[in-house]
Structures are given as C-alpha cells and as structure tokens.
C-alpha cells in the first residue's frame, strides 16, 4: 500500500469521528428532556445570575445576548 492510500484512512476516520459528521449520534429536539432540567442550567442560582447580568449590562451599556433561563430545552 503506497503512502496516499495509507494517509487516506486516518483522514477518513477523522472526518467520521469529528463533530462535522452528521452520522454521529446527536441529541434531537424531541430528546432534550434531560437537558431541559433546571439542574442542567449553567448557573444553579437564577437570582444571582439575574443580578449579575443586570449589573453587567448596566455597566456595559448594553442589553441582551445573555441567553435564557433554564437548561438546554432549545424550544421555539
């Protein structure tokens, strides 16, 4: 087996194994029940997050882009 063919196998394996490949198992929109649980949220304290974001947005004179509450339901 010559060199290009030998190189092709690792490339093919890499293409299949990277996140570029849709053939990998992915969480479908209807399978996000576990991700939607509050425990999956980045922050465990929504009040503290709200206050921190309020201070941040006031200081930065900007608003939005902070995402929404809860976990990763991905609804709507």
């Amino acid at each position: 087996m010559n060199l290009p063919v030998k190189l092709l196998f690792p490339f093919a394996a890499a293409a299949l194994a990277t996140s570029c490949s849709p053939s990998l198992a992915r969480v479908k929109p209807y399978e996000r029940g576990t991700l939607a649980k509050p425990v999956m949220s980045e922050s465990m304290d929504p009040l503290l997050t709200a206050m921190t974001e309020h201070a941040y947005f006031s200081r930065e004179a900007s608003f939005g882009g902070g995402g929404v509450g809860g976990g990763g339901c991905g609804c709507n």
């Binding site: 010559n2 063919v5 092709l8 196998f9 093919a12 293409a15 299949l16 490949s21 849709p22 053939s23 479908k28 929109p29 209807y30 399978e31 996000r32 029940g33 939607a36 649980k37 809860g70 339901c73 991905g74 609804c75 709507n76």
Partner: protein
C-alpha cells in the same frame, strides 16, 4: 488504487448523508397508526389533520394547548382532527402533563419516538397541518402566541374549504 479510493469516497459520502430528512410540506403523511403502535389514533381519512409534537419539559408547548383546544372546539365539527403527540421518555411525566393541560383533543404517547423520527421536528413544539388527501401542507416550528394562532386559523379554514 483508483477503485479503493472511489470505494472510500462512496462510503464516506453515504455515511455523511445518512441522517434522515425531516418531513416537509408537499410530502404524504404515512398512516399515523403505523407510526404510533399501541396508541389509539383517531380516524383521519378525509379530514384535515393537525399533528402537534409536544413535551412536558417544553414551555411553548404548554402555551400552545389553550389555542389547540380552541381550534378543536371551533373546527372539529367542520372536519379538523387535532392530535397531540407527546414525546416524553418518561410515561409518568407524559400522563401528569396530559392530565394537567386538560386537552379536549386526543393525545397519544410516542414512547418509542417512531413518529418523531419520521417527522423530524426541528424544535419543540412543531406541528404539521395535513390536508384531506393526507399531504402535509404546512409546518409550524415553535409556537409564537397570537401570530401562530392567526396562521393556524387562516390555513385551517383554507384547507377545510378545499
């Protein structure tokens, strides 16, 4: 060498495009009873059907139930069948949510995700409006209150008139 290369290329292309295509407008809907084995699916032959995918963990789904109830009450006598397909993995959560929402239209549990795998809803909720011939005519991704309700009404009235 060339044969080997083309073989690898074909394998890669097949693997990369293997994911199932979501259901689109213009496509025929298969019999729901075949997608939902064990569930009591209402008769849909010759009716306009609204298939709505929902889950207990989805906020907008909860907001859509009063609107779906209203659509059912207004148009069921004129030939509309609303079917709510719950995709919860946990049967207890499906039951609890279904009981709490007071749906007046039939609800079915897609526990094996067979129907969801066919339709491939892009987000939760997603609904499919099917005409009297069984062809998917409109797909609604997400629920946006009055805007979605107005779209439902105009589309349902147009399909019922056909």
């Amino acid at each position: 060498m060339k044969t080997l290369l083309s073989l690898i290329a074909v394998t890669l292309c097949t693997a990369l495009t293997a994911s199932a295509e979501p259901a689109k407008a213009g496509q025929s809907m298969p019999k729901l009873a075949s997608l939902l084995p064990g569930a009591s699916v209402p008769a849909t032959a010759g009716k306009v059907v609204l298939v709505d995918f929902w889950a207990s963990w989805c906020g907008p789904c909860k907001a859509s139930f009063p609107v779906l109830n209203k659509l059912h009450e207004t148009y069921a006598s004129k030939g509309l069948v609303v079917i709510g397909v719950g995709v919860d993995e946990d049967a207890a959560k499906y039951q609890a949510f279904a009981g709490k929402m007071g749906a007046k239209f039939p609800l079915v549990h897609d526990s094996a995700h067979k129907a969801a795998a066919f339709f491939g809803p892009a987000t939760m909720p997603t609904s499919y409006l099917v005409d009297r011939k069984g062809v998917i005519r409109h797909v609604h991704s997400g629920f946006r209150g009055a805007k979605t309700e107005a779209e439902y009404i105009s589309e349902i009235e147009a399909l019922l008139a056909q």
